[in-house]
């Protein structure tokens, strides 16, 4: 058995998710290679080489892989996949974008968003917004899998795997990068934060999200949001937590002015401790909250900030 893990990059650096995907790969067993593909990604490759359990890092450093466009990334994976029994990526936007192309071109199914490994061919995954957990078995020769990072604890970074260059260069005339508008924040990444505080429609407008800033500063928290808050334009899309946004499982999740729709719960109900602040004492969020505080967020948030 041999596993290829497609590394996640964040502005050219190795993203935290990769250490979780390697952890999932370790549960499957076998040699684990990490593929780092992009332009100017040596630092990411060096970081990947330190991850515990990695046998080798393969680096495809070429302008055609910049921004990880789906077409060249898919073609690169197809070129490398014959050496492996499993190809894994995190179920983040990049993995979701690229891996199904590999699966289709290899004529195999993809298993998305696994949260557990029963054996090298049998996996657990949430379906219906996490309302049910399916156990699925793949009899395909190549297993193509995306991994939900909250399902696996990150491996450590005490290793020193060899790094080798991949010289495969593919042609791409179909798609090109135009520009990007990335969130700039000094706060931790939503996916990796120990504490997350999220605001919903109850926040009223984008300006009021500032009420969460002081608390987030004191707790070292990332700030998230419900879909309603994103749809209303209070905050950008990258802050959406839920079934169709980001999945988080911090030690502490504080939901403020969020009703607790199933689609929101799907993204946060595996948090260790959940706090809900809501003026409606019947809001469904209280059914999953360890600690519920009923009241007006505009009074409670300043008080909480001052007393922390």
């Amino acid at each position: 058995m041999s596993i290829l893990v497609l590394a996640d990059l964040h502005e050219g650096q190795l993203a935290g998710a990769t250490a979780h995907v390697v952890a999932a790969a370790k549960e499957m067993g076998g040699d684990i290679d990490v593929l780092v593909a992009g332009e100017g990604v040596q630092a990411a490759a060096d970081a990947a080489a330190k991850l515990d359990g990695v046998s080798k890092v393969r680096v495809a450093d070429n302008a055609v892989y910049a921004h990880q466009l789906a077409e060249p990334m898919g073609a690169l994976l197809v070129a490398l996949a014959d050496d492996y029994t499993h190809v894994l990526a995190s179920a983040a936007t990049n993995g979701k974008n690229v891996l199904p192309r590999l699966a289709a071109l290899k004529d195999v199914s993809q298993i998305s968003d696994i949260i557990g490994v029963d054996s090298p061919d049998t996996f657990k995954r949430p379906i219906y917004a996490g309302s049910a957990i399916a156990t699925v078995k793949s009899d395909d020769a190549l297993k193509v899998i995306t991994v939900r990072v909250t399902g696996f604890d990150a491996v450590g970074a005490g290793g020193s795997a060899p790094i080798e260059a991949v010289n495969t260069v593919v042609d791409n005339r179909q798609s090109s990068f135009v520009d990007e508008d990335l969130a700039q924040s000094d706060r931790p990444e939503l996916g990796g934060a120990k504490v997350v505080i999220s605001g919903g429609r109850g926040m009223g407008n984008g300006e009021n999200f500032k009420l969460l800033d002081g608390i987030a500063d004191k707790l070292g928290a990332a700030i998230g949001a419900s879909r309603a808050a994103v749809d209303a334009g209070f905050v950008p899309n990258d802050m959406q937590v839920g079934q169709t946004g980001k999945i988080v499982a911090p030690d502490l999740y504080i939901a403020v002015g969020i009703s607790g729709a199933i689609q929101h719960l799907a993204g946060m109900k595996d948090s260790k401790v959940i706090v809900a602040i809501n003026k409606d004492d019947e809001a469904p969020i209280f059914q999953v909250a360890d600690y519920g505080l009923v009241g007006d967020l505009f009074e409670l948030l300043p008080e909480l900030e001052s007393k922390l």
């Binding site: 936007t93 974008n97 690229v98 917004a129 909250a289």
Partner: protein, 249 residues
């Protein structure tokens, strides 16, 4: 330009899911079904392209049981011109669906194919990407804006870090995210008119595609329930509990 939209019949997003007692699957008996919300967004986008004079024809396609024709009729009521139903009672997974859609693309030669980014039942998020790979067409997933510009399409995508804009040569495959548009509701006269619009019924065999997959569903369980917590009376009590009971501060 012809636009092809793929739609899926799924459980209504408001329905609370129950797992069957024998753990073989979720229980869908007598459950309200609807068009997958991301597919509604896809249909809406296609219809808007037609209203803007960019698209000349909108064709809706679904793969599923006989009852999935309801969702095709909805698409027709929303503004699609005709529909194709590839009828099967088998559990068609993303790969089989993508293979069937690839055959339809081959036959119909659309300039643009729009699909939902994921279906809210399996939450797979695969079909559009697989279709793009199988047809060798470029893809833009998780679209929040689609602008046709001559022989190219510019798509703004919702990605983890924010927004990314890419340009694709046409024909191309686009999958929708939540912010692309706000779908309209079908009006009664349009629902009546939709009954007369053409709807072709086919089978996977007509396209020579095998629906069976090599992935088997062994078991479906309910997730671990969270124990209901307590309500605290004040901010002071909350901080005290978080410090001394939960020990997360």
């Amino acid at each position: 330009m012809k636009v092809l939209v793929a739609v899926k019949r799924v459980i209504d997003y408001n329905v609370k899911i129950r797992v069957k007692a024998d753990h073989s699957d979720v229980d869908l008996t007598n459950v309200k079904m609807a068009m997958n919300p991301f597919c509604e967004i896809a249909v809406e986008e296609a219809v808007r392209l037609k209203e803007k004079g960019v698209a000349t024809e909108v064709v809706a396609v679904t793969i599923g049981p006989k009852a999935a024709q309801e969702q095709l009729r909805t698409a027709l009521a929303l503004g699609a011109d005709r529909a194709i139903h590839i009828q099967t009672d088998e559990r068609a997974e993303s790969l089989a669906v993508a293979k069937l859609l690839a055959k339809v693309v081959d036959e119909e030669q659309p300039g643009l194919v729009i699909l939902g980014k994921q279906a809210i039942d399996t939450d797979n998020n695969q079909t559009g990407q697989m279709l793009a790979a199988l047809t060798n067409l470029p893809q833009a997933t998780f679209a929040s804006e689609v602008v046709i510009d001559g022989d190219k399409v510019h798509v703004t995508r919702e990605i983890d870090g924010g927004l990314q804009t890419i340009a694709l040569t046409l024909p191309a495959i686009v999958t929708t995210d939540l912010r692309l548009n706000e779908p309209r509701y079908a009006k009664l006269p349009d629902i009546m008119k939709a009954k007369k619009k053409p709807l072709d019924v086919k089978t996977p065999a007509d396209y020579g595609v095998e629906v069976a997959s090599k992935v088997s569903l062994l078991k479906v369980e309910s997730p671990a329930e969270r124990k209901g917590g307590v309500k605290v009376a004040s901010v002071d009590e909350l901080i005290d509990k978080l410090k001394n009971e939960a020990k997360v501060l």
